[in-house]
């Protein structure tokens, strides 16, 4: 069986179109804001329309287009537990005009939400297999929903290894989760930082330095990776060396996006629109895209 990312059950503009038109958002309210790191915040959002909130669902790997009124729209991946119906969370780094204005939001402020968009991590197809989740920095956010779903259905999966790297201990996202996951005996969490501090007891070095600590059979494992492009590059090299087949390395690609519905052209990689046909791809699929120069 050749592994491919999962087709989503819900996709804005395809399965349903709840707002007035394809490009007009639904309104959600900021319920809570958590500071993950000095430049990253998690926003907990609830739809104003409670009926809509009930019918709204999404899967790990998907994203929304967030409208910050007065600034514009930006694509952000879901970062919370997909089984949670009363809210969803987005974890955002303040980089461009829209995300910077987003960081100035207060509780009670309204945002626009279009979505869900995109495809999903293949969590159904890999049931019964061992899992290796590798992420770095803010790359943990798009994987968090997958991790939470895996843990909620733990018995459906084999061994579960997780590697996470960040620049410093303070730059780690979801520290509260990492603390919990480190204590669990049904998963192996290994963390590393580039630069440690006095309290840091774990590994120091890039995430690939953790590779010789994992005990897996590459023939029965699927790797889900997400993080900075340079990290993905070296993780991929390392995992291929370990014997992973190209379809068993799954990642989430990133491009500048605007419309989210495969029309504006910004997110194309060769013939593929990341917003409608991605952003989750296997390495095998990526190798078929010459622009990626893999």
């Amino acid at each position: 069986m050749v592994l491919t990312p999962a087709k989503p059950r819900k996709m804005w503009g395809v399965t349903d179109q709840p707002s007035e038109n394809l490009y007009m958002p639904m309104i959600a309210v900021v319920d809570e804001i958590f500071d993950e790191t000095p430049d990253t915040k998690t926003f907990r959002l609830c739809f104003e329309d409670k009926e809509y909130a009930k019918s709204f669902s999404w899967e790990p790997g998907q994203f929304v287009e967030v409208t910050i009124f007065g600034a514009g729209e930006a694509p952000i991946g879901f970062a919370s537990n997909p089984l949670e119906k009363s809210f969803f969370e987005l974890t955002v780094v303040a980089r461009g005009k829209v995300t910077q204005m987003m960081h100035e939001l207060k509780r009670g402020d309204q945002v626009g939400i279009r979505g869900p968009f995109g495809n999903c991590w293949p969590l159904e197809a890999v049931k019964g297999m061992d899992l290796l989740v590798v992420s770095g920095g803010c790359g943990l956010a798009p994987l968090r929903p997958a991790i939470l779903q895996i843990l909620a259905n733990r018995k459906d999966y084999g061994e579960f290894w997780m590697l996470y790297g960040a620049r410093t201990p303070a730059d780690r996202d979801f520290k509260y989760d990492l603390e919990e996951w480190a204590k669990r005996d049904d998963m192996h969490l290994l963390q590393t930082v580039d630069i440690g501090d006095d309290t840091w007891k774990d590994n120091v070095g890039v995430v690939t330095t953790l590779f010789d600590k994992i005990k897996i059979d590459a023939r029965n494992t699927v790797a889900l990776n997400c993080g900075p492009a340079i990290m993905i590059k070296f993780v991929t090299i390392g995992l291929l060396k370990m014997g992973f087949s190209e379809d068993r390395l799954v990642t989430s690609l990133e491009r500048y996006m605007k419309c989210g519905v495969g029309k504006c052209g910004h997110c194309c990689v060769n013939h593929v629109y990341l917003c409608t046909e991605g952003p989750v791809f296997t390495y095998q699929q990526m190798r078929a895209l010459p622009e990626l120069k893999l």
Binding site: T67, C259, K263, H271
Partner: protein
């Protein structure tokens, strides 16, 4: 041509005919501006229509995909409550005198915007637009090469109403439901086309074919580009003279890429507006982090041609992305029109092909 759908409209009846059409919808037609310049614009009366116009730079695609298009408005009214208001201006319109190349391009865009997800703005405008196209008896400018792109100078299908200038009359062919409906009001002015009308049209078809000055042998370029065989050196050489003005994509009747901005209004509200964008601009793919997946001029020229001529896009869109209108040739400040690039790729690839294949090369 289906003989049953082919009629004749006398030129002396043209004004009256389109005055009738104008009762249902606005007329968009070529008008002379200044110094020989022509544009497609809303005309108040059929008398303003410049039936003898040659070609037009600014593509009539702007009547379906406007250069700047407002999508919706919002207010951040007190107490910080958002109100959204959709904008949908799709006035019923008849575009008269549009060329076969532009018609093919609009059909391409209708397919693109209509599936798999439906763009509501394009659909609304397209639903309320009927095209009365005009066959080119001769290519209007030397840069035309529609004949190489299966998009002109006349169409066998895909038009609403196709007019051919036969001297003192137009051949009038209906090609769609929309065309039939738009003809109803003036149907009494049409007479069945006779065999000499058809023969005259055939003569024009044959004659026009001999008059094209520009050719584009797209096939080899499609092969090389689809197989990703064109080396970076060729793309970078092509890109080395690009002015990055975006004219090729702006004026291309097929191109559809756009950017979206939230524009602040004087009264404090905002309008989300989309406007033509170009993959030839460096900022088209630049991410907030500063990383740019297409950092060089060559990578962007490659993108334009990949999008227009590669198999995956051809399969998805139903045809390749060029209708041979020649605008990218005349609008380009250097020489990156489709025929030029296609030729330079074909010739440039000689260096890279094994010896035995070179004999087969054009």
């Amino acid at each position: 041509m289906k003989a049953s759908e082919t009629w004749v409209l006398k030129k002396t009846d043209v004004s009256k005919f389109f005055a009738g059409v104008a009762k249902e919808m606005r007329l968009v037609a070529p008008r002379y501006l200044f110094g020989g310049d022509v544009t497609f614009g809303v005309v108040e009366s059929p008398g303003e229509i410049a039936w003898d116009y040659g070609h037009v730079i600014y593509p009539p695609k702007r009547f379906l995909l406007p250069h700047y298009e407002d999508m919706f408005r919002y207010e951040c009214g007190p107490p910080r409550r958002i109100r959204l208001e959709a904008i949908n201006e799709a006035p019923p319109q008849a575009i008269l005198g549009i060329r076969s190349c532009d018609v093919s391009a609009i059909r391409f865009q209708e397919k693109f915007f209509g599936s798999p997800i439906v763009d509501p703005y394009y659909k609304a405008r397209s639903d309320s637009t009927v095209l009365f196209s005009l066959v080119c008896n001769a290519p209007p400018k030397k840069e035309c090469f529609c004949i190489c792109c299966d998009a002109g100078p006349y169409l066998n299908a895909g038009f609403d109403v196709q007019l051919t200038d036969l001297g003192d009359r137009f051949l009038y062919e209906i090609g769609s439901e929309k065309g039939t409906k738009a003809t109803e009001a003036g149907a009494s002015m049409l007479v069945k086309a006779g065999s000499d009308d058809i023969a005259e049209r055939r003569r024009i078809e044959v004659q026009a074919d001999l008059l094209f000055e520009t050719t584009a042998y797209l096939a080899k370029a499609i092969d090389f580009i689809s197989a990703d065989e064109v080396p970076d050196e060729i793309w970078e050489e092509l890109g080395s003279t690009c002015f990055r003005c975006g004219a090729c994509t702006n004026l291309c009747p097929v191109c559809t890429c756009y950017t979206v901005d939230d524009r602040a209004e004087a009264d404090g509200s905002f309008t989300r507006c989309r406007s033509w964008d170009s993959c030839q601009y460096a900022g088209f793919t630049r991410e907030a982090s500063g990383h740019n997946p297409r950092p060089t001029f060559g990578s962007r020229v490659q993108r334009r041609f990949y999008h227009k001529t590669s198999y995956p896009y051809i399969m998805r869109d139903g045809r390749h992305g060029c209708v041979g209108c020649g605008r990218c040739i005349s609008a380009c400040l250097t020489k990156l029109g489709v025929p030029d690039v296609v030729k330079r790729i074909r010739r440039g690839m000689h260096k890279y092909l094994p010896a035995q294949d070179r004999a087969a090369e054009v």
